[in-house]
Amino acid sequence: MTTREDAPGSTGGADVPGPLHGGPDDDYTPEQLAAMSREDLDLLGARYDGVQVLHTEPGPEPGSRLEKAAVRQVALTFALAGLAAFAAFVVYAGSGWFLPDWQWEITESGWSALFTPLIGALGGLSLVLVGVGMVLYTKKLLPHETAVQDKHDGSHFDRVTTGATLVGGLHNSGLARRKLITRTLVFMGSGVGLMLVMPLGGLIRNPNTGDPLGTTSWAEGVRLVRDDGSPIRPGDQVPGSLETVFPAVPGGNRQSDAATMLIRLRPEQVRVDRPRENQEDFGYGDYVAYSKICTHAGCPVSLYEQETSRILCPCHQSQFDVTRGAQPVFGPATRPLPQLPITVDDEGYFVARSDYIEAVGPTYWNRERI
């Protein structure tokens, strides 16, 4: 390689040593250091770092029975770890090759039910043994040191000098005097900041247009259908039963707010039935329909206890009384389940008479205003 000696930056190279970085090379010449033992060098460096090794308890004496026992123990641990790891690999790679297939379908052999547990057991065992081996090694075979390191407080010198640099820079900028610049900086900062968060505005949408929270796809004449889409006639159910129904619109059975419970009351329930005010005619015969979405936090209420006429929500145990307009009688829910007004159409199937007259599901700030 040729170097043009006259070009700046191409002369000298590594031959010219730069100023040194770090340790006190002036106090310790290479000759002095070379004359020291490795142990002394170790302690010297530690002392330089503020660490003093107070006391070292050497590991077991080489060749002693104590050492041999410890070595055997550690080696056995590592060997077992390796064994378990290879075994895990054999299970993983061998399944479906010389071992039965691991996949769920093949349950006859029982192997697929064993595959994951075996991987976990062998893999876990292997890793734990690696860890145990390392800990044993440090505890039984390494020398035990007790070392002390000094803790330093902040230095006054550093604080004062750094402060001077910072304040000096600020002072030189003259910002304190140049008021026009400070003011424009504030103005600019708020503008640029606003501009940078501006794209998040895309997240904001008006929840009040079209009242999506207050409406469902129930409407006048919409049939009540089961999950499979079949319509329901009065008399399909025995008294005391509950069926989950959906509006007969496309995707109605997957809508999050439309699920409704169609309940056929038993004669003794009909006798004591006290619907909510102005909703006396919402039922049809001994049938009533209530929203399935809990007014507390929106879980689907699901457990119907016929004897007590109570519907229980599994999430926080609110209970609603179906003979009292599904008023909450226990638990954290505050409002009754909304009632769906129902009737039957010309063909004798249940239909809704309108949408729910109030918002279904959990309460929110302006619910009463919708």
Partner: protein, 554 residues
């Protein structure tokens, strides 16, 4: 002995030469030596934070693997995979990809379960670590910043857990998401707007899984990573706290150097944590989403339980009475708002502010590097136990339906037990803890004053029987010990002060010589004595009593 080369200090071995080349370029020898020489104190409770760190590493590794298969799409598909009971069922692509990962990827189920177990371990380790910091006073000046970072890490871990739990889009996670939606709606004034921003419309919409996914695998992990880095940098900078003991002062750290002793043990712990998570991931089924079924807003599984760390909120939601607040103008503050937004808000604010509160109350603004034993700070310890009792009542109430069913108690009774328990158990916990702390303190002082009980009974000339006590140090003319309490454990049995020699090692036959053991023990005693001699010691090895909330002494 380092072999002397032709020119002194010039390496002769290949490794040595390579190291020189390396350091010539990067100049790392100095910082590396400082790191290797760093002293770490040794105590089992200092491992808790490490466990949290290692679980996080495992989460990063296993989670990255899961992303190769998981698909956060909410498009409806018809299942046609290996798991026969679900063929033909409609579900979201997210749920289908989770089934695929569980049944059609070799070892996929293992990694999924490993990920979930590591997540539980992560949160548990953080919580226990936090308790250790609290009860030993490690949060005091200068470590308030790290306390705050710790609280932020705990909150982010919750966020990780919740977003991760929602990803498979099974019946359980969907129900959880439904409740979250209701919680967001319940916020006064901005609730519906916030819900529209998060879900891009009404519940459930098409966007939410994709958003939760990116929060779960990118945004929160990145913040966690950054905060953990700062947490550890601060730890290195401020040095670890230590318990008081011989030779330990406010101005030093006594323990092992990083290399090799501490590194060996820490590395070992990493593998043990990894191994335990792996064993759990393979052996103990968790979140079998194929049993829950795909999410369907009209269905719910009974006894639906969230992961353990969310249970306390479930509990508070169950216990809080049905109190909607109706405001003029037909506005409502839903009952749900208080137990799910306000209560955790208060809890976490109090936790974050605790170091400041204690500083205000005790007027202790000094720096502290020595830890306190919980018994020596009865007020703080009792406050902590009170908070813990509050938490445990909520936690149990989160599973009150299961308990009611198991023990055949009425649910309503369980709810009332929870409500009343929430009010009376915490103060009881305070009083009990306070008593216990004082009792322990008193016993420590008694042993220091009168010595250890030896179990030796002596009959005095006039017939009285006394038990012989072994003083722990020099005694005054009345035979009372002169040692002051130093904030360190006081030995309570003769064996702890060398009443019996340590057992000779060896299982079948001794592998040590008794004489050597004796020698070794003498040596170690001398070592400690020497260590103490040349260390400056405050009278008790502990700073002035300013370090703790002042207590009336009895």
């Amino acid at each position: 002995m380092a072999r002397t080369a032709t020119a002194p200090g010039v390496p002769t071995t290949r490794v040595g030469k390579a190291a020189l080349e390396f350091d010539d370029r990067l100049i790392v020898a100095g910082p590396l030596r400082r790191t290797l020489n760093k002293v770490f104190p040794d105590h089992w409770s200092f491992l808790l934070g490490e466990i949290a760190l290692y679980s996080f590493v495992i989460l990063l590794l296993s989670g990255t693997y899961l992303t190769f298969y998981y698909d956060a799409a909410m498009t409806e598909v018809v299942y046609d995979g290996t798991y026969a009971p679900m063929r033909g069922l409609e579900m979201t692509a997210a749920y289908e990809s989770t089934l695929y990962l569980s049944f059609d990827v070799r070892g996929g189920l293992f990694i999924r379960q490993l990920h979930h177990w590591a997540a539980l371990m992560f949160v548990a380790a953080i919580v226990v670590h936090l308790l250790r910091i609290f009860f030993t006073g490690a949060f005091r000046r200068p470590r308030e910043t790290n306390w705050l970072i710790g609280i932020a890490l705990l909150l982010l871990a919750f966020a990780m857990g919740f977003t991760g739990y929602s990803l498979p889009d099974d019946l359980l996670s969907g129900t959880g998401l439904r409740i979250i939606s209701a919680i967001i709606l319940s916020i006064p004034v901005i609730g519906t707007w916030a819900h529209w921003a998060v879900f891009n419309g009404d519940y459930v919409g098409e966007e939410i899984l994709g958003r939760l996914y990116i929060v779960h695998v990118l945004i929160v992990p990145a913040i966690l990573l950054a905060l953990i880095a700062v947490h550890l940098l601060l730890l290195v900078k401020q040095k670890h706290t230590q318990f008081p003991g011989p030779g330990r002062t406010e101005h030093n750290v006594v323990g092992n150097r990083l290399f090799p002793a501490f590194a060996g043990k820490a590395g070992g712990l990493f593998f043990i944590v990894f191994g335990v998570c792996a064993a759990l991931g393979g052996l103990v089924q968790i979140n079998p989403v194929w049993l829950w079924g795909p999410y369907n807003p009209a269905q719910v599984s009974a006894a639906s339980q969230p992961d353990w760390y969310v249970m306390f909120l479930d509990g508070s939601t169950r216990l809080f009475p049905a109190w909607d607040i109706n405001l003029p103008g037909n506005y409502t503050i839903p009952a749900l708002f208080w137990p799910t937004v306000v209560l955790p808000g208060i809890i976490f604010t109090l936790m974050a502010a605790y170091p400041m509160i204690e500083r205000k109350l005790t007027r202790d603004t000094a720096s502290h590097h020595l830890l306190q034993r919980p018994r020596d700070v009865p007020v703080r310890t009792s406050l902590g136990m009170m908070a813990l009792a509050f938490y445990v009542v909520l936690l149990i109430s989160g599973g009150n339906d299961v308990i009611a069913e198991k023990f055949d108690i009425s649910l309503n009774a369980m709810t009332w037990v929870g409500r009343i328990g929430l009010i009376i158990v915490p103060p009881l916990a305070y009083v009990f803890t306070y008593r216990i702390c004082l009792g322990l303190q008193k016993h420590d002082r008694e042993v220091l004053e009168h010595g250890l009980e030896t179990g030796v009974i002596r009959r005095l000339p006039h017939g009285e029987f006394i038990e012989v006590h072994q003083p722990l140090g020099p005694v005054d003319e009345h035979g009372h010990g002169q040692l002051a309490y130093g904030g360190a454990p006081v030995p309570k049995r003769m064996n702890q002060v060398g009443g019996a020699r340590r057992a000779i090692r060896g299982f079948f036959s001794p592998i040590e010589e008794p004489a050597r053991v004796e020698l070794e023990q003498q040596r170690s005693e001398r070592g400690l004595a020497a260590a103490e001699a040349d260390r400056e010691l405050t009278s008790s090895g502990r700073p002035s009593d300013g370090g703790r909330p002042q207590e009336p002494r009895d």
